[in-house]
Amino acid sequence: MPLQVKRLLLVFAIFIGIMLVLKYVLTPDSWREYGPYRGNAIGEIASQQAKFVQKESCADCHDSIAEIKSLGEHINLQCEICHGPGYQHVDDENFKMEITKNNALCLRCHTMNAASPKNIIKQIDAIEHNEGEECITCHNPHQPWL
């Protein structure tokens, strides 16, 4: 075998060797446990702290708001839909929650949209329905019909 071919084969052998070592060292532990992805990823995602804590935990302290809310049409909405994730606020009340007062908040759900059924969610034409005023001057966000 000619010398240059021998050298080349040697280089290829070294290259493949290095790749194999790297593959051995760097391949994540649980790769291919269930398929071509990291099996551990499922556990890692599951163990992340939940950022949303559900409306029941808000009711512990904000019982009056929870109560008026439970009387209105927004009964089924999570508080955190409008106020943002609450995991920090629940532990530390000084951590401010978001309070959004602009109309875009309400219009996210109530704007005219051909794709969502009108009998399930009421929709208004944002341009015609009391243009130029804030929704919350007439509707209480916690109990829209006051």
């Binding site: 050298r7 280089v11 071509p36």
Partner: protein, 401 residues
């Protein structure tokens, strides 16, 4: 991908009815660059093999140049993908967890085979003798560098050169199907998506392949002219005419295949045809009819066809070739654009369109695409400095027996 602030803003991008996940294009301009650059590699390589395997002597002056061009574009071919994914630091995970279960994952194998086994080896065998000679002439670091490149083999005997020649020839022979594989593969990625009528056709790999050849040949033609100009050398008109001739032939095949595909579509006129018709006449009018067909095909075909019969003076011919090579390069870019972007503009409900705006300033996709198109030219400049084809020893004659 662009961020959409509100439903109202989103609706301004939409015509008719579309599904929510079709609003923003997931594959932006970087994915246009990917088949474009890979195509340039495959095309440049095939031009080199025309000289070596099919023994077209006139193409000899561009042999090394085409190989080095192919290599410099090959080195960045994956970059558009990696930057588009947005996790460049995880790229190595792809290499250490190979698997055969997805068409996309096969690219790792195709790429590695083509780069390591075909391009690098062919260039190495081609330059081995010269690198030994250069390592003797140079001093200091460069001496060491060339020595390292030769893998410390300093054999310059005629036998060793003959071995180089034979192995190099063998690799080129293997390289042709590999180049076909490389770009056929890229076409397959699009052609195999059955949910998208604009992409889903068995012709796609073949069309991609021929358009790759067209663009690669045009690129080498362009680079050859620029490099000889910068070196203040006389250009080999015979080589240039031959390249132009092959460009002409392959452009004809490419255009025929593409027309065949379109005619087939038009005649079949299945349920997707109406929307594709509106797409091509509307949103793709400029990029399809004007850029891809007009600039990329009609002008070059007419000019090159004319040149086959009547040859004007050298100076004018040079200018024509130079302009034609740019036209073809632009045309093929828009061909990739029409495939990648066009395929995402219409709704798979066939009832509506979304739109795609390139933000020229501040758009990361455009900036990065430009970057990945410019970097190969710098790599090429470096390679030409390191391995100048014009300083090579004349090839050794192998007696026929």
């Amino acid at each position: 991908m662009d961020k959409i602030q509100s439903l109202y803003e989103a609706l301004t991008k939409v015509d008719g009815f579309i599904y929510p996940n079709e609003l923003a294009l997931n594959w932006d301009m970087l994915i246009v660059m990917y088949p474009y650059i890979t195509g340039l590699v495959a095309g440049a390589f095939i031009l080199a093999s025309l000289n070596r395997v099919f023994d077209i002597k006139a193409l000899r002056p561009t042999y090394e140049l085409s190989l080095l061009t192919a290599l410099s574009f090959m080195l960045v071919a994956t970059m558009p993908l990696i930057t588009h994914l947005g996790q460049p630091l995880r790229f190595y995970e792809m290499l250490i967890t190979p698997h055969l279960t997805s068409a996309m994952a096969i690219f790792g194998f195709v790429y590695l085979w083509y780069l390591m086994v075909v391009l690098l080896l062919e260039i190495w065998f081609d330059y081995r003798y010269d690198m030994v000679i250069w390592s003797r002439e140079k001093k200091g670091f460069m001496k060491f560098f060339y020595k390292a490149l030769t893998l410390w083999v300093s054999d310059t005997s005629p036998e060793s050169r003959k071995t180089d020649e034979k192995i190099g020839y063998f690799i080129t022979v293997v390289g042709i199907p590999s180049a076909f594989l490389l770009h056929g593969y890229v076409g397959f990625i699009f052609g195999s998506i059955k949910a998208n009528p604009w992409w889903s056709t068995v012709m796609m790999p073949v069309i991609f392949l021929f358009s790759a050849m067209v663009s690669g040949i045009a690129l080498v033609m362009f680079i050859y002219m620029v490099v000889t100009y910068l070196r203040k050398q006389k250009i080999d008109m015979n080589a240039l005419d031959t390249i132009a001739k092959y460009l002409f032939y392959i452009l004809i095949i490419d255009f025929t295949l593409e027309s065949l595909d379109q005619i087939h579509r038009i005649y079949e006129a299945d349920e997707s045809f109406d929307i594709l018709k509106i797409l091509v006449r509307g949103k793709l009018f400029f990029t399809f009819f004007i850029m891809q067909i007009g600039v990329g095909v009609v002008i070059p075909l007419a000019t090159l066809g004319f040149l086959q019969f009547k040859k004007p003076r050298v100076r004018i011919r040079k200018l024509i070739y130079w302009i034609i090579s740019i036209c073809v390069l632009v045309g093929i870019f828009y061909m990739r654009w029409n495939v990648v972007i066009g395929g995402q503009l219409f709704s798979k409900s066939f009832y509506g369109f979304t739109s795609y705006k390139v933000n020229l300033i501040g758009g990361s996709d455009v900036t990065l695409s430009l970057l990945w198109f410019i970097v190969p030219f710098f790599i090429l400049a470096f390679l030409l400095w390191l391995l100048p084809p014009w300083k090579k020893a004349p090839p050794i004659e192998i007696p026929e027996d």
